[in-house]
Point group: C2
Chain length 359, copies 2
């Protein structure tokens, strides 16, 4: 097992990464109260709930299991209210612990519940998807969706610990593993050339679910993200660099219809588009954009958007940002391994970049 | 105008207290974004919305008025969702400002909306009741109710500033003025003997709405509360002393049926009960308990609970705490002006104290 820290003053915490650590009671013991509520979904519960429950019980907690529906649909008020009902019904107090056992949706939902139940209780993230292990479980972002916009209602609520068991990735469908790899590639492209080189040497090993390789990839992503979060907890600056591929990606997700594309798939195609745009702006060379495309393709991820015109995607991007009161901004590459934020990009170049990525 | 600070590191802010300062654009200017949403209710809007709107507009913001129903009923999810709908509909971004214009309910509702809309936007509290000016607008507690328990879903979200205009108290019904006085008396009894003496000399002047006296009372309460909040922002310790009268008070509110007793009225009778209990425990003398009762009575506030047996109130107290997973604790007086937290109180003494306060 490897452990690393996220330095956030009194909100600092550890990330533990290893194989088979999901039911290590010692990892939970410092944070359990009299009650520990495990929020998970109907797919993850049969696989891992019993083991997590046993660990929490041997750490001294009375366990309250809360099993919600699978999928993005769970990130809504009705589901959140059910979580509150069960927490109150089980008489969980301010000293209760909430454990988020599952992927990004569960982490967001359970994290937000922990952020606002009795004005905030402790949270431990136990991510069971690659996407959640490398990205969403670290950094404290929690949210539910509003019918008009994703992640619109939420909070920054840092966990007390993150327990990432790469053995849980054994049960992850191939498609979700690849979607998680998109976020791994994102961290590397945005922040670390050497990690890009490692990925270029290791992508097939990762797809074969080699545990040592997965452990390294999770650890490196967490290290990179921890540094960014420590410098900019509430995303007022550099943390936005981790949104590489996301401006395009959100439009792809919305355009294809939510749920049709996985988030990671949309981000993958979005990164290819961002690289194309970076090349057209002269920030990187055409061979760098080709290098991004090749890595994404080797991970089995889409390098082109859905069957929508560039104009349609552009409208979706504008709508997404306008409804949230924001300006259209792009995270671009100024070299492989170094992202930069730009807000002054001409529309024709954006259209050309999307077209280049849909050929 | 007088200004004082709440020292909370990067979350520090100023409280401005004066007469006629509600529409001073300079007080809003440092915090306005492109949009400023004013959350208020149907009673306060006709009185003060136009003036606040004009001030925000001259400070450079586009104003989004959001008028909700009057009363505690507004502290529920449906109303909160309406606030989110209007914020999104008006394309308020992360740089929007939320202004809470009204009493404690509006401060709690608008404050919680600001805490979680797009994971947190800036908030300015403009309290228009004595209770909100002396207590609820300061310290960052925000919440909505759950059908099973009050203030169960919320956040600590400190405002950027508090603007307390005592001239708004002119329009406050007498009963609400007195309920606010209960919280003034609470601050004094819990924390400051000299302030108790001042109140004993000034209670009729306050009831006559003398602006200088009201300004002093608001300022002194804010000073006392600011010090407590600075030392214990998230109520893990000493901040609980400000709950003097609240363990009894919550049971009175629930027992009488919410809305029958105003919160301040229940706290008033609760403080008399807490003083009786303190006397029975030998912490203070019988003459000190009588002194508390006399001050509460002079403020026109109830010194006895509703027509419920002590056993009924005790059950309500236990239920309130159990549903929230907490232990029954009492804030007691170890002298006039000095509160102390006690968790080991025998039930018969609690019953006797309630009976003494219902004679």
């Amino acid at each position: 097992m490897e452990s690393l820290g996220v330095a956030l003053g009194e909100r600092s915490y550890s990330i533990h990464i290893g194989s088979g650590i999901l039911d290590d009671a010692a990892l939970y013991a410092p944070y359990v109260g009299p009650k520990a509520a495990v929020v998970t979904n109907e797919v993850v519960a049969p696989l891992y709930l019993a083991r997590v429950r046993a660990a929490l019980e041997s750490a001294g907690a009375q366990v309250v299991p809360i099993v919600v529906e699978d999928g993005e649909r769970a990130k809504r008020w009705q589901t959140l209210e059910r979580v509150f009902d069960e927490l109150l019904g089980a008489r969980c107090g301010r000293d209760a612990l909430v454990v988020a056992l599952g992927g990004g949706v569960i982490g967001d939902l359970a994290g937000f519940a922990a952020a606002v139940y009795q004005r905030g209780v402790s949270l431990v993230q136990v991510p069971t998807t690659l996407l959640a292990q490398v990205d969403s479980s670290v950094g404290g972002k929690t949210a539910i969706n509003h019918p008009r916009a994703k992640n619109m209602i939420g909070a920054f609520h840092q966990p007390r610990a993150v327990i990432s068991d790469v053995a849980t990735l054994d049960t992850l469908p191939d498609r979700e593993l690849r979607a998680g790899l998109a976020e791994v590639i994102k961290h590397a492209l945005a922040l670390d050339l050497r990690f890009v080189e490692w990925l270029e040497a290791s992508v097939e090993t990762l797809l074969a679910r080699d545990r040592a390789a997965l452990t390294y990839a999770v650890r490196r992503c967490c290290e990179l993200k921890a540094a960014v979060v420590a410098a900019d907890e509430r995303e007022t600056g550099t943390r936005a660099l981790l949104n590489l591929g996301h401006t395009f990606g959100h439009a792809i997700e919305a355009g294809a219809g939510y749920g049709t594309w996985l988030h990671g798939e949309a981000v993958a195609a979005g990164m290819v588009m961002a690289a194309e745009l970076s090349s057209r702006l002269g920030l990187i060379g055409a061979q760098d954009a080709a290098r991004v495309r090749k890595l994404v393709a080797r991970a089995g991820l889409p390098v082109a958007g859905p069957a929508l015109s560039g104009e349609q995607l552009l409208q979706l991007m504008a709508l997404d940002k306008k409804s949230a009161g924001g300006r259209l901004r792009f995270v671009l590459l100024e070299s492989i391994g170094r992202a930069v934020l730009r807000g002054d990009v001409a529309e024709p170049l954006v259209l050309q970049s999307m077209a280049a990525a849909t050929q």
